[in-house]
């Protein structure tokens, strides 16, 4: 997502992991961890002269 935002013209792309995110079911959480699945917050700007 981060690179997609930059490639599409967004600037000042920032991301941070959402603390506290996890799946309710243990099996789903374990699979998610195996794939490096995380919830992230992303912010980005469309330049003034886009």
């Amino acid at each position: 997502m981060f690179s997609l935002l930059e490639q599409s013209g967004f600037t000042r792309v920032r991301s941070a992991i959402v603390p506290g995110f996890r799946f309710r079911k243990e099996a789903t959480q374990n699979s998610a961890e195996a794939y490096g699945v995380k919830a992230v917050m992303m912010t980005a700007l469309k330049p003034d002269k886009a």
Partner: protein, 203 residues
Amino acid sequence: MTHPADMQEALEAVLKDEIIRMYQEVADNPGGEFHFYHGREAAERFGYPTAWLDRAPAGAVASFAGVGNPHERSHLQPGETVLDLGSGAGLDGLIAAWQVGPSGRVIGVDLNPSMCLKSQAHAAATGTLMECHQGRMEDIPLPDASADCVLSNGVINLSFRKRKVVQEMFRVLKPGGRISITDIVSAKQLSQSIVNDPKLWAS
């Protein structure tokens, strides 16, 4: 022989149905157990202030199925126009509407027309102005340069065409506009069995 593009289109159609089914179930049966946290428990987990959750209609809070708090860094200002992409039962749109005030405008977009009706009912119940348009995030039903901020909470990951979604967000933003989104990302390529399984993908 079936062309890969046709196969993807067919899979997308199945996925669309599964996404509508799953999130409709959260809205219709918020007391049910899902593999993700939802409702007030999830919103509190992500730091939504109690005052917001107490002010919003119970149905909007109970059906919340986000993965974070996009308001934390949205810096919404009175008078701004906000697009809530994948607006669901409307909790994030309502919170945005309270921040931009009566001189602002909040436009929800959701794949499911019945969720649009639900979010508008929740807005009406609190005397909040909020629109909702049925549509796809890959083809946002808004004109170019029409929003100051795009909010989204846990829906972009559901698209097979994320590049198109990002391009659409860019298109509808005014110059100098911004996004504040929370979503699920994966560090590793998902297996083909997950990609080809609409139930897992919709999760």
